[in-house]
């Protein structure tokens, strides 16, 4: 028996000597890594209470974050189902260093018990999406790395505030957990700037621009100036119509202009004269916002003159002739006309424009020819030799004052007007009553061509067509140039005292009574019987 005791003592001593620490003899297993600092005999009662297992109070003495959460009624550990349990029910220990003190079943975890119900998009998120150190504000918890503690219920706990605090912290007032966009909770009608008309259809970013705030690109929603349209819209009128765009425009469409209030006079093309009575669409078409060219009249008006006044491709200024009040009458004055190559002189001053410029019901102004016959009919036709119309100009005889006032050097014709001829009107010789024409070429220049031969051919001579001039002068019809002495029967004696009719009796030639001057029988008996 004595030997037995020795052996037993030896065995027991050997077995115990293998144990490096007495503690390990009592510990049912290694503590997990999280609690490894509590290994050791002296630490047992830091967690255990004799006869009372591991009271929650011991756990919470160290786990003050949990204690705080419970005190504040927050988090999963404040849920009644959890508080009714001992800590070690879920977080048992002494299962080895690698034991997961927290075995989190993310698939079956009821997040409602945390006091933060996962809804909407949050339901499909992985735990790590929210539960990560960067979302934890508490510095101590942040150091832990992997922890489900430390998140706040407010959105900013996990979500970065892309508004950089400009819209406050109540994200849910606008956004929902169903998705950051669309912003279902936001009603622009409750904003200071109520969206109307086309504003309802405009993308938010059109008005809510991105600005740099604290080095971040932030879409600005608050503090946007909207009291004038120019806050967002560029004033294409460059201030000419004032600041109140609504006086003409409405929010439905920029092109729906309230014409009653529109002052075209403020545009670059003030409406004057007849333009004030023209319908908008005549110039602007269907789109009042269209900006028709207006530098040239032809930008709107067709060129009635079909390029007559076009130099190169530019139509000369219509205003030189037309006024804005009406296309006609033209304000192309005589003075202006007189400055062109065909000044209006004489009768042309009183001539209606139509006489020269309205041809075949079409006004024509640009004339290549300005000769008289380009307008006037050559009344004389073949009767007037071209040598008297140099350059088809009539000025050789006529002037601008009147057709009837003819100034012509008749000497040029070789038929000098002498005596009574110089006192006669032209028409006395040149106008033919029957044909109602002036005859020139047809007037041969012989006496007979104008005068009737009252002598019925008694003095005709083949040698001299103007045999009349042998007796008559141009002063009168008295035969002043006749001398009976030069005849075959010179008067002598009593004969020289006799009246002509004593000898020259009335006879008949061609059954016409006529004084017979040509006496062939000079016998005395022929008179004295």
């Amino acid at each position: 028996m004595k030997n037995n005791l020795y052996l037993w003592s030896l065995i027991l001593s050997l077995v115990l000597s293998f144990q490096t620490e007495l503690y390990s003899q009592f510990s049912p297993g290694d503590l997990s890594n999280a609690h490894s600092n509590l290994e050791g005999m002296s630490n047992c009662f830091k967690c255990h209470t004799a006869g009372d297992k591991v009271p929650n109070s011991k756990c919470l003495d160290c786990h003050t974050q949990i204690q705080n959460l419970q005190n504040n009624g927050r988090g999963y550990h404040s849920n009644s189902e959890v508080t009714s349990k001992n800590c070690i029910t879920c977080h048992s220990e002494h299962h080895g260093r690698n034991f997961q003190l927290i075995r989190f079943d993310s698939k079956n975890f009821d997040h409602n018990k945390t006091g933060y119900k996962l809804t909407g998009k949050h339901e499909s998120l992985k735990c790590e999406s929210c539960h990560q150190s960067k979302n934890i504000a508490n510095a101590d918890l942040k150091k832990k790395g992997k922890t489900f503690l430390g998140l706040e219920k407010n959105c900013a706990s996990c979500h970065s505030d892309i508004h950089s605090g400009t819209l406050g912290k109540e994200c849910q007032n606008c956004h929902s957990v169903e998705g950051f966009v669309p912003v279902k909770g936001f009603d622009h009608n409750k904003a200071a700037f109520v969206l109307t008309g086309a504003h309802k259809r405009v993308d938010c970013s059109k008005c809510h621009r991105t600005e740099k705030i604290n080095g971040k690109d932030v879409k600005v929603f608050k503090g946007i100036s909207f009291f004038s349209c120019q806050s967002c819209h560029k004033d294409i009128h460059e201030g000419k119509f004032g600041a109140d765009c609504t006086s003409c425009h409405n929010t439905e469409s920029f092109s729906q202009v309230r014409m009653a209030n529109f002052d075209h006079g403020k545009t670059a093309f003030p409406l004057l004269g007849a333009h004030t009575k023209v319908k908008c669409s005549s110039c602007h078409g269907d789109n009042l916002l269209s900006k028709p060219k207006h530098e040239l009249c032809t930008d709107c008006h067709s060129d009635y003159h079909s390029g007559e006044f076009t130099e190169g491709e530019i139509v000369k200024n219509c205003a030189e002739c037309h006024s804005i009040n009406s296309f006609s009458p033209s304000n192309f004055t005589i003075e202006k006309h007189n400055k062109i190559r065909f000044p209006l002189l004489g009768a042309h001053l009183a001539t209606p424009c139509t006489n020269c410029h309205l041809q075949e019901e079409k006004w024509k102004f640009k004339k290549t020819e300005i000769s008289c016959i380009s307008c006037h009919t050559d009344f004389h036709g073949e009767e007037l030799s071209k040598k008297y119309m140099p350059g088809d100009e009539c000025q050789a005889c006529h002037n601008n004052m009147s057709w009837n006032t003819v100034k012509f050097d008749h000497n040029l014709t070789g038929f000098n007007l002498l005596g009574v001829h110089s006192k006669l009107e032209c028409k006395s010789c040149h106008f033919n009553q029957e044909s109602n024409k002036f005859l020139f070429a047809s007037v041969s220049g012989t006496c007979k061509s104008c005068h009737n031969d009252v002598h019925l051919g008694q003095f005709e001579s083949d040698k001299n067509e103007n045999v009349c001039t042998d007796c008559h002068s141009f002063e009168n019809w008295q035969p002043s140039k006749f001398s009976h002495q030069n005849t075959k029967f010179p008067l002598t004696g009593a004969h020289s005292k006799l009246e002509c009719s004593k000898c020259h009796k009335t006879g008949k030639i061609e059954n016409k009574e006529v004084v017979i001057y040509k006496i062939e029988n000079f016998l005395c008996a022929s008179c004295h019987y």
């Binding site: 065995i11 027991l12 390990s24 049912p28 006869g51 080895g96």
Partner: protein
């Protein structure tokens, strides 16, 4: 206790021990085969962990069984007043039953998690159980009476003679066969000076005896001895050869049995001491 009652008694112990082991093993295989760090998350953890509803019960039950098994046997063995209560052999069998089944329950109580001071208790228990099996073997190698009392050398000699006489007279075997049976033990087992060599010889004794007896049976049958008679002869011959063999290693077995005692008991005491410390620790820390 009649042989039948004894057989039922032993069978019942065997069935209870084996079925306990199988039921607990099958029931908790999923849990026990789970890594230690995963077990707390098993649905069976609350029941099968050492402090669980079933695990704790197994620990208490197993401890009680071992306590009762050890103490009852020791008391019966050592307290004279109790000598009259049953045979020591039956108490030993009861001791073996409790101290095999109890460790089985404790084994499942540990949930196969061996650590800390209580592991000393567990491994001491294991040593006690294994040594108990060895002790039981050594115990059986020492010739005993029907009641289990150890036979002295005179009684052994008389028993050997009785068996020889039985072979000669009851079965009318000729001298050659008798001589051969007498020489079998010498053929099978040679005397050695080493106690432990004799232990290992004892381990193979039964097998070798069975082999020789089978050959003897063949010879008997070849001599036209009826099979039923041959079986009876072989049975007696086997008893005789085994006894002869055990007599040859009796000294060594006695020595081993002494050693066994100073091995078996200290481990048992160690087991109980640590177990008590373990119980105290549990009560204090309430794991």
């Amino acid at each position: 206790m009649s042989p039948l009652t004894h057989r039922i008694y032993i069978t019942l112990f065997f069935v209870i021990a084996i079925s306990s082991f199988l039921l607990l093993a099958i029931n908790g295989f999923g849990y026990y085969s789970t890594p230690l760090t995963e077990r707390p998350f098993s649905d069976l953890h609350s029941a099968l962990k050492p402090s669980g509803t079933l695990g704790h019960f197994l620990g208490i039950a197993g401890s009680i069984m071992m306590g009762v098994g050890v103490s009852s046997y020791m008391l019966r063995k050592r307290v004279r007043a109790l000598f009259k209560f049953g045979t020591l052999k039956n108490w030993l069998e009861f001791h073996i039953f409790l101290c095999v089944t109890g460790p089985v329950l404790v084994l499942f109580h540990t949930a196969f998690k061996f650590g800390g001071i209580v592991s000393i208790s567990f491994w001491s228990m294991t040593a006690v159980v294994l040594s108990g099996i060895a002790g039981r073997f050594i115990y059986t190698q020492i010739p005993r009476s029907v009641k289990g009392n150890e036979l002295d050398i005179t009684e052994i000699k008389r028993l050997q003679n009785e068996l020889s006489e039985k072979l000669k007279e009851d079965y009318n075997l000729d001298e050659k066969v008798i001589d051969k049976i007498d020489s079998l033990s010498s053929k099978i087992l040679t005397q050695s000076n080493s106690t432990f060599t004799d232990f290992f010889k004892a381990l193979g004794l039964k097998l070798k005896v069975n082999g020789e007896i089978n050959r003897l049976k063949t010879e008997l049958l070849q001599k036209q001895i009826p099979e039923s008679l041959a079986i009876q002869i072989c049975s007696t011959a086997k008893e005789k050869v085994m006894l002869d063999g055990r007599v040859k290693i009796l000294k060594s077995m006695h020595a081993l049995f002494r050693y066994w005692h100073i091995f078996h008991l200290p481990f048992a005491i160690t087991m109980f001491v640590i177990m008590i410390i373990h119980i105290i620790a549990v009560l204090i820390f309430s794991f």
